[in-house]
């Protein structure tokens, strides 16, 4: 579903990521891990078509992303951002309906059919009671659910989630991750999620891509790849992997 071939990308002709090769299969939730500045965001932006590769290729459903225009990319892949800093806040229903823009002609606006789909999506995600509220009146967790609904409105086989839990409290982090997991299973989506917390990847993802210094350090199933050794290579020696009855957890060493 998503494939990169010798992908290098960066800014002002200077590569930040080098020779990235991976394949993401349908129905998989893939975590993208790495430290700040390792090139995670650059890879993510390149997969999304927000920046062009310096060399190599990104294939979305077999199509080279450079041969696609913005609406075509938006018909294949949707983005859930970290959060939204909007000035003129829309109502939640209008926010969700923005996801239809890649399906509509320039002069068209969402009509009854699109509104019905948005209402169904809101019900599926459990935010029907928020539809008439202003987006900025919602809590961080609720906002993130709305952004997921907006991405689903694009009706794409691929979902990119850019640290969707970074501003959320513990409860909301797991609420959002549970929802993402469910949606990937139910809709057979291919989703790539960037995360700072390896525990979110350990608990919810099928596969993992780890980036170090702009190159793909390791990739594969979470169980095989996310070992203590990998975590120490990625984050330094101050991290350990502990096996508990309910699964594996990355824990920082030191402290109390």
């Amino acid at each position: 579903m998503i494939k990169t071939e010798n992908l290098s990308a960066g800014y002002y002709k200077k590569a930040v990521i080098h020779n990235i090769n991976f394949t993401a299969e349908q129905g998989k939730l893939i975590g993208l891990l790495g430290r700040n500045g390792c090139g995670k965001t650059t890879l993510f932006r390149c997969l999304n078509g927000l920046i062009k590769p310096l060399s190599g290729r990104v294939l979305l459903k077999g199509q080279d992303i450079t041969s696609l225009n913005q609406p075509q990319i938006a018909n294949l892949a949707a983005l859930v951002p970290q959060g939204v800093a909007t000035i003129f806040a829309l109502d939640v229903i209008d926010m969700i309906l923005l996801g239809t823009s890649c399906h509509l002609k320039a002069w068209q606006a969402p009509a009854a059919a699109e509104i019905a789909v948005a209402e169904d999506l809101a019900a599926e995600i459990g935010i029907s009671h928020l539809l008439d509220k202003k987006f900025t009146e919602l809590s961080g967790g609720e906002q993130q659910l709305v952004l997921i609904a907006r991405a689903l409105m694009q009706n794409t086989p691929i979902l990119f989630l850019d640290e969707p839990t970074s501003h959320l409290d513990f409860t909301n982090q797991h609420l959002v991750m549970n929802l993402v997991r469910e949606l990937v299973n139910r809709r057979k989506l291919t989703a790539i999620i960037t995360a700072h917390d390896p525990n979110l990847v350990l608990n919810y993802c099928d596969d993992v891509l780890t980036i170090k210094n702009g190159t793909l350090f390791a990739q594969g199933s979470v169980d095989k790849i996310l070992t203590e050794k990998t975590l120490k290579t990625l984050y330094g020696d101050g991290i350990a992997l502990e096996q508990t009855a309910s699964g594996k957890f990355a824990v920082p060493q030191g402290g109390r």
Binding site: Y12, R45, N48, G49, L50, N69, Q70, P71, I73, A74, N75, A77, A78, L79, P81, V84, A85, T86, I87, F88, A89, L90, D91, I93, D94, L98, G99, S101, C102, A106, W107, Q108, A109, P110, I115, A116, E119, D120, A122, A123, E124, S128, H129, L131, D132, K134, T136, R150, Q154, F160
Partner: protein
């Protein structure tokens, strides 16, 4: 799982729109009615009937006076106030969303300042009449826009911030040019003319102006209203808008071209009218919410209404007509202050 249809209640905007349109019609009628020469409803009907039957000019002085005032002064003036008010407000609504800034107005493009410089050039170098002043003003307005796009296209990233900064640069250059012209001009003739023009007024309104401004405003506003839903997408961050399938460069260009068209033609016709483009979209949002499908057209109706009311007041002040921007500023500046306090930064 099916959504409960009762949980979503779409906003009803027709009451606000109907009331505003009704008020506009009433004020239009009043604006034609009052002034130094009273033209009441019976006069209007008989004058229109005469006009439609193709009758010659009246013989008696009073009727002739009413004919001239009604057809050659009041109707074009009121139509121009409606067109310019709508244009500036529609443009303001679009610019505030496009620039994601509640303080944006058509001025941020630098078009207004360039159009003003055009006025200065026409008066300083050519002692030009109204038509040449308007033409030069329009040419400079459009030239500034093209220059802005030429510069922005050379900046990597092409973010909203780049557009704002280029607008600031263009504005500063043309403002400096205008100040230089004012400095060099004769304080008793050219300087007075330039300054008076720039204060903005509808007292030079005629059918020639209406014939240029009205169709341009109708066409420009029509397209901006047609594309208004898409503005909601452009109101998100650049990355989100792109990920939602918007070609940012193309769509910014489309919106700005139409904004520049209606703003430069309006400024060329009547000079500077301050604050309308900034304040009216905020009032519109107060009534109809933030969906651009409602904000853009409703701003147009409210802007037309506000400028028509102010112009009617201005031309009926017994001590003589004062520049319209004085009134718009006196009304709008405190109003914006109140809104900032009431909204507490949430627009």
């Amino acid at each position: 799982m099916k959504a409960n249809p009762t949980e979503h209640h779409p906003k009803k905007t027709w009451p606000a729109v109907t009331i505003a349109l009704g008020l506009l019609l009433v004020v239009f009628f009043i604006s034609l009615n009052i002034g130094k020469v009273q033209v009441n409803l019976a006069d209007m009907i008989s004058l229109l009937a005469q006009k439609l039957s193709g009758a010659e000019l009246a013989n008696d002085v009073e009727t002739l006076q009413k004919q001239i005032v009604f057809f050659n002064v009041r109707i074009p003036r009121s139509l121009l106030a409606i067109a310019v008010g709508a244009a500036l407000s529609v443009a303001g609504a679009v610019m505030q969303t496009l620039y994601r800034n509640p303080l944006a107005s058509p001025d941020v493009l630098g078009v207004t300042q360039a159009a003003n410089f055009g006025v200065g050039i026409a008066i300083f170098f050519f002692s030009a009449g109204t038509l040449l002043i308007q033409f030069t003003s329009f040419v400079f307005g459009v030239a500034a826009l093209l220059f802005t796009f030429m510069l922005v296209s050379r900046i990597p990233g092409k973010s909203v911030t780049s557009l704002v900064l280029i607008g600031v640069i263009i504005s500063a250059l043309f403002q400096a040019g205008l100040t230089l012209l004012l400095y060099l001009s004769d304080p008793y003739s050219e300087m007075l003319r330039i300054n008076y023009w720039l204060m903005g007024a509808f007292n030079t309104s005629n059918w020639q102006n209406v014939a240029i401004v009205l169709p341009a405003v109708i066409v420009g506003s029509f397209f901006l209203c047609c594309f208004s839903w898409r503005l909601n997408v452009l109101g998100q961050s650049d990355e989100e808008a792109q990920a939602l399938g918007i070609n940012l460069k193309l769509w910014r260009f489309i919106y700005i071209i139409f904004v520049a068209l209606i703003v430069s033609i309006s400024t060329a016709a009547v000079g500077n009218i301050s604050w309308v483009g900034l304040i009216i979209p905020h009032i519109a949002r107060f009534f109809v919410g933030n969906d651009q499908r409602r904000v853009v057209p409703f701003s147009g109706i409210l802007g037309a209404l506000m400028l028509l009311i102010i112009d009617t007041i201005v031309r009926n002040i017994p001590s003589g007509e004062i520049p319209i921007s004085v009134i718009t500023s006196f009304i709008a500046a405190p109003f914006l202050g109140i809104m900032i306090f009431r909204k507490r930064g949430n627009w």
